[in-house]
Chain length 96, copies 2
């Protein structure tokens, strides 16, 4: 199991229509084959300044790579992620 | 539901006895009342330099606070976390 997470902050202001549109657009990712347990999350710790997170799991590295290469993912990255995300950090986990 | 996560890097070298001892000592946290789904994780993305993570869930803010204030937690922080962790980032999530 590989859990892929990304914590991020949008260029949109809090509670804006742009923010809502971005988060809704991300639903396209949930339909990509191999992706499990897709979660859209609000980051709530005051110890960092990120506002949202996505979390998803893959059975193995091949499934993760299939997601990364999937045209719906690469399109989301180029059309929504790159123009609308101010900062982000990717963190991936395997169980110890 | 609040998911509390912390991604971190130890002062111990990779695969060392000190690393193993720290990760085993963290099991004490799993017994603290209110803590759910405790996971010890290896961070595997090459896009950051953290090596491990812990993830846990709490039903609500009161349960999270109870964990933070619990003597087994504060003892772990003072006796193991502060002396042995080189860098860390806390990220907390709620479902959107």
């Amino acid at each position: 199991m590989i859990r892929h997470t990304v914590v991020f902050k949008l260029k949109h202001s809090n509670g804006s229509a742009g923010e809502r549109a971005f988060l809704t657009a991300a639903d396209v990712l949930a339909k990509i084959p191999g992706l499990q347990k897709f979660e859209k999350l609000r980051q709530v710790s005051a110890k960092n300044d990120y506002a949202f997170g996505f979390s998803m799991e893959f059975a193995d590295q091949a499934a993760y790579q299939g997601y990364n290469d999937h045209p719906e993912h690469t399109r989301f990255v180029s059309e929504r992620w790159l123009p609308e995300v101010e900062k982000f950090l990717e963190i991936d986990y395997e169980r110890l």
